[in-house]
């Protein structure tokens, strides 16, 4: 698989997205801080200038131009941020620490203005600094200018902005680095998942993702994928097995039927025998085969659906009693003692027909394998767990413990049952019915060896109680 470029990897793209967002938000914040600080600085400067101007004009109003003049001289000698200039009505400088008024649009009224001061700093470099000032006319027609150097405030704002920009840059760089690291980590973990997907695509169903043990969502993904692959592999194997088994198991009866028909045809040609009997038997065999197909279909559909069709709540006790009533005469006829112990009010939810079929299969089996003189017992009861249990116990030869899991599989017939008719699907269908109802099938030993027969078999079919 081709590795995607760095920018196409999701974690890295997410990092970039977040960094861009961060930068945008920081810029807005910075702009706000800048504007707020600058406005505040100007407001303070204006207030200071106004106070100074008020002081000076009231001095002028009270004591005249000479007093103002000496006050200005005194003030300009002081080191300070203030700028002063007293000019005559003609505009000539009388006193002050600047040569010309920076107020360019003075028309005889008090006028405020921002302007730029060009100065030489300590190292001799020419710097430009912001300033703010006001010019006002005095009673004798002369003009007074008062201004303040904003230099300090501006420098402060600049320092704040610079450190904010610096911090922003550091965060961006760290974020970028972090994004790369995360992207790399995720990439490495995803590579494991991708490797497994690729392997499965190439037909290797045994490929499994390595779980790192971090317990994070990537581990969960790996575990989930492994479980999914396990199930898939299992069902593929079982389909393959079923396919093989169907082909294998249906071939022998078909071969037998074919031989019978061939012989019948030869016999009929020679006039040796009436083909009717052979045809009748062949017809019966065809019916058996079709029945087998139908059962296989029912099992697959139940398994595929995973649930029983058309479920209803009904009394499993009634069903068991019905089955006992249906089978008792046949058992009796075969010389078997048939007993039924049935509790009532065992409500289960499911498909009654399928459950009846399952129960019938169990009773059929018990009757088929129990020799005459034996006993078959049908029980329906509620377990202490609340589950509903059907069980059929017989005194036949039983199923050896090591074979109990196997006999449930499709088409599996034990050696000593080969002489009996049957497709080997009975218990598979019961199992499928049990699973479709959220229940289970359990095989155990029967009552033990009595009079050379036994140990018998006890098959339990357990369903959850209907809520």
């Amino acid at each position: 698989m081709k590795l995607p470029s760095l920018f196409r990897r999701t974690p890295f793209r997410l990092t970039l997205l977040f960094l861009a967002l961060f930068a945008a938000v920081s810029s807005v914040l910075l702009a706000y801080i800048y504007v707020a600080t600058a406005t505040e600085a100007r407001r303070r400067a204006d207030a200071e200038v106004r106070t100074e101007l008020t002081d000076l004009t009231s001095l002028y109003n009270a004591r005249g131009q000479d007093a103002l003049n000496s006050a200005l001289v005194e003030r300009t000698l002081r080191e300070g941020p203030y700028l002063y200039r007293l000019a005559s009505a003609q505009g000539k400088t009388i006193t002050g620490n600047i040569g010309a008024s920076p107020i360019t649009n003075f028309h005889g009224q008090t006028t405020w203005q921002s302007f730029t001061l060009t100065d030489t700093d300590k190292s001799g470099q020419v710097v430009q600094r912001g300033a703010r000032g006001v010019e006002t006319p005095l009673a004798d027609g002369s003009r007074l200018f008062v201004g303040v150097d904003l230099g300090d405030a501006e420098a402060h704002i600049k320092r704040v902005s610079m450190s904010l920009w610096g911090a922003g840059a550091v965060v961006l760089l760290l974020g970028l680095a972090g994004g790369l690291v995360i992207s790399h980590n995720v990439e490495r973990s995803m590579a494991e998942v991708n490797r497994v997907v690729g392997a499965v695509q190439d037909g290797d169903m045994s490929a499994r993702a390595q779980v790192r043990g971090a317990g994070d969502e990537l581990d969960e993904l790996a575990i989930g994928m492994n479980t999914m692959l396990d199930k898939l592999e299992q069902s593929m194997a079982s389909i393959r097995h079923a396919g093989d088994a169907i082909a294998h198991d249906l071939r022998s009866p078909l071969t037998r039927m074919r031989a019978r028909l061939e012989v019948a045809m030869l016999d009929a040609e020679d006039g040796r025998a009436d083909p009717k009997t052979a045809l009748g038997i062949a017809l019966g065999e065809a019916d058996e085969l079709l029945k087998t197909f139908n059962t296989v279909l029912s099992i697959s559909r139940l398994q595929a659906a995973g649930e029983a069709p058309d479920p209803k709540v009904f009394d499993a006790g009634d069903l068991a009693a019905d089955m006992a009533e249906l089978y008792e005469p046949a058992a009796d006829d075969k010389g078997l003692e048939f007993q039924a112990e049935v509790q009532r009010g065992l409500l289960v939810k499911g498909n009654r027909e399928f459950m009846a079929q399952a129960l019938a299969n169990l009773i059929d089996n018990a009757m088929k394998y129990t020799p005459s003189g034996g006993a078959v017992m049908l029980r329906a009861r509620r377990r202490s767990s609340g589950e509903v249990e059907f069980s059929v116990t017989d005194t036949g030869p039983g199923v050896p413990e090591e074979d109990r899991e196997r006999v449930v599989q499709r088409f599996v017939r034990l050696e000593n049952s080969r002489t009996q008719s049957g497709s080997g699907l009975g218990l598979s269908l019961v199992q499928a019915v049990a699973e479709a109802h959220g229940g289970r099938l359990q095989l155990d030993e029967g009552p033990g060896v009595v009079d050379n027969s036994g140990p018998g078999l006890r098959v339990a079919l357990v369903f959850p109680a209907a809520s």
């Binding site: 009748g280 058309d310 009533e325 249906l326 046949a330 059929d364 009757m367």
Partner: protein
């Protein structure tokens, strides 16, 4: 009695026409649902035998249409779909009986016959009589030639079904379906044993056996 067969498999249809004709039915065949519908609307039939999967108009819709128009003629659905819910849908759509392919011929004839005769006994009966056998449906008692026969509840139901279909062949599957109301296929011949028990009660001690075995088909109660 007239039967309408709606079946698109022409070979199967030919076999059905032949078999039902031999059993004394007058048979009409329609190869698709639309033709089946128009033949059903245009004629008098005692039974419709309808395949579920048909070209032009499927069997379910055809029967639903007929039922909406008030046609109450009994319908036997034929289907390769044997699942339980398929049967339920078939019966809900207005079918009276449901037969899964492949079926034994005797099974089809027996079921068509049962449906065809069902119409004849329209009125509610309280007493069934077949020859010297008498069943009191209200008192739930059975007599043969005046002798009371003691029957278990299920034996009573079994005999009632046989008496209602006296003279007709009924198959084991029909008995399991109609008397026990189960549609599965028991591997053991459970029905045979029930019949033989019933037979020993109603025929034992009488010179003429009424409950007869029909080879290859099932049983028949003869007067």
């Amino acid at each position: 009695m007239r039967v309408l067969i709606v079946e698109d498999d022409l070979e199967a249809a030919a076999a059905m026409v032949r078999g039902l004709s031999e059993s004394g039915f007058e048979v009409t065949h329609a190869p698709d649902g639309a033709d089946g519908l128009s033949k059903a609307q245009g004629g008098e039939f005692e039974v419709y035998v309808v395949d579920r999967m048909l070209p032009k108009l499927d069997g379910l819709s055809m029967v639903e249409t007929l039922r909406r128009e008030g046609d109450q003629t009994p319908v036997l659905f034929l289907s390769a779909l044997g699942e339980i819910n398929d049967r339920v849908t078939g019966l809900k759509a207005g079918g009276d009986d449901y037969l899964v392919k492949p079926y034994a011929f005797a099974e089809l004839v027996a079921r068509v016959e049962a449906l065809a005769r069902r119409r004849e006994t329209g009125s509610v009966q309280t007493v069934l009589k077949v020859g010297d056998l008498e069943m009191d449906l209200i008192g739930r008692r059975v007599h043969r030639s005046g002798t009371e026969i003691d029957l278990q509840p299920r034996e009573f139901q079994l005999l009632e079904f046989l008496m209602r279909h006296a003279g007709q062949s009924v198959t084991r599957t029909m008995l399991l379906e109609k008397v026990w109301e189960y549609h599965f296929d028991p591997q053991t011949n459970v029905i045979d044993v029930h019949i033989s028990r019933l037979r020993s009660k109603i025929d034992k001690g009488f010179d003429r056996p009424m409950l007869q075995t029909v080879r290859g088909a099932g049983y028949r109660l003869e007067a």
